[in-house]
Amino acid sequence: VKFWEKEFETASRDSIENLQLTRLKKSIAKAMHAPFYMAKYGSLGLNEHAVTSVRDIEKLPFTTKEDLRANFPDGFLAVPKKQVVRLHSSSGTTGNPTVVYHTRHDLDSWANLMARSLFCAGVRDEDVFQNICGYGLFTGGLGFQYGIERLGCLSIPAGAGNSLRQIKLMRDYGTTVAHAIPSYLNRLYDVFVEQGLDPKKDTRLHTLVIGAEPHTEEQRQRIEAMFGVKAYNSFGLSEMNGPGVAFECTFQSGLHVWEDAFIVEIIDPETLQPVPDGEIGELVMTTLDREAMPLIRYRTRDLTRIIPGKCDCGRTHRRLDRIKGRSDDMFIVKGCNIFPMQVEKILMQFPELSGEYRILLERMNDVDEMIVEVEISKENFSGDVVSLSNLTKQVTHDIRDEVLTKPIVKLVEPGSIPKSEGKAVRVIDSRKLN
């Protein structure tokens, strides 16, 4: 087994924890330059001296997505804006976006973690790496790009979509590694077949990196079989930079989370108490090497567990299991993070709709679909097919604009959506993720 940074990746648990403690203290001190932490820690009488061991992190309060939004745009900024060189931000027009700032150091550290992640999955500098991912505010584009370059591969910043062009790029330049969301790879395979091509014979692909969308082990195996490659799971979230937070090694037995850069905790989302290794809970993360926007005990809302035991690859950084779901109502379709409220806000703008709706998430031929069933209004019913068809088109368009993935909008009769007692069940996810 080869390593990108052997001294970090195979360090003893003791030295990892010592490094974590040193960096945690620094992070707290840095964070307290940001208005949010200055006020919060100030009022609680907390500072970097409150922690004398990594476990002491439990004394510190959580940071939530709501905190990030409420302190938009720069309540979490811990350095003068002059030092900031890039921001990434969530999509959507509902409420404040989640924005994350980076200094030059932050981007450098992120690129290194990304390169380490790819190296760990067997990618090397002789590879030709096609990044089939949206560039721009979305972290999957630039995040991978800088890591691919740091590792020394020939990078092809292909961007998302346009399957024929993706295939042509792969064949023209002899792509050996590609990164995409799993559901897109299913579609890409179909296009290969339509073109009379077999990716196993007609490309030089040996590795696919899949992420940004929850998927099952079966789905991974199907992708591996279709393309004749090894497929590795990538995990990240924009609040923790983006991709390069946790990554599978060639043993494919969970995702090593880089503990020199992050402290991971798994908590019970109800009691907020830590759960033992091996048990599923909510992932809470702390940045250890970030200047512009240190985040301490950030509740990711992703449900997963620490896989107990050591990995055969020799890396000592603990492994996260595949993401099992969410502890809030966010869901992910085709790599887009979506809250039901975003859909609801759009639907409320149409008097022709009653406002009753539900979202069905289904996996059709390995492609995730978001079906929005919405009742039409009794009072504002126009009575003709043309205006209802136009209404469907407009609603589809507006939701797509908001959440960046195209829904299937189904108009239904008034009163046909089951009303639940108490908290309405707005999202029914029938995709199987275990």
Partner: protein
């Protein structure tokens, strides 16, 4: 001007009959109908009935999305070429038909064509100018066949 009753229906087994069950209970008689379906999983049922207001209220009470929509009902001869002659006059007015459905009123004598157009009031005056004959509402609803 006559009214048609337009009802939104999901394209699912049993949904059409929910309408007819309500009409049966209310003693409402259907004169003619069309059902337009779309590839989007739903359609619109248009009915001409003997008492459109009563039908509308009864269906609305049962939670249907239902609308009374004005239609132009034009007379034609119940002979070969009758519809063609009517459409020829209609064509000259430049009015575009959104939906249309016909019915014989009395065998071998009269028939009518109900047409649904975008701007109904403008269409009505144009059609009158063009010399087209309108059918009395009561005849359309079938309450006075003579």
């Amino acid at each position: 001007m006559a009214y048609q009753v337009s009802i939104f229906l999901e394209n699912k087994p049993g949904h059409f009959r929910r309408v007819t069950t309500v009409l049966k209970r209310e003693g409402i008689n259907i004169r003619t109908m069309t059902l337009s379906t779309t590839s989007l999983g739903w359609g619109v049922l248009n009915l001409i009935v003997d008492n459109p207001v009563k039908a509308h209220d009864a269906l609305s009470k049962q939670n249907f999305s239902v609308k009374l929509r004005k239609v132009v009902v034009l007379k034609m001869d119940d002979t070969p070429g009758g519809l063609d002659a009517l459409l020829e006059k209609l064509e000259n007015t430049g009015i575009n038909i959104e939906n249309a459905y016909g019915r014989i009123v009395k065998e071998k004598e009269k028939a009518y064509l109900a047409i649904d157009v975008e701007n109904i009031d403008e269409a009505e005056s144009k059609l009158r100018e063009a010399g087209l004959e309108f059918l009395d509402d009561e005849v359309v609803y079938g309450n006075n066949l003579n």
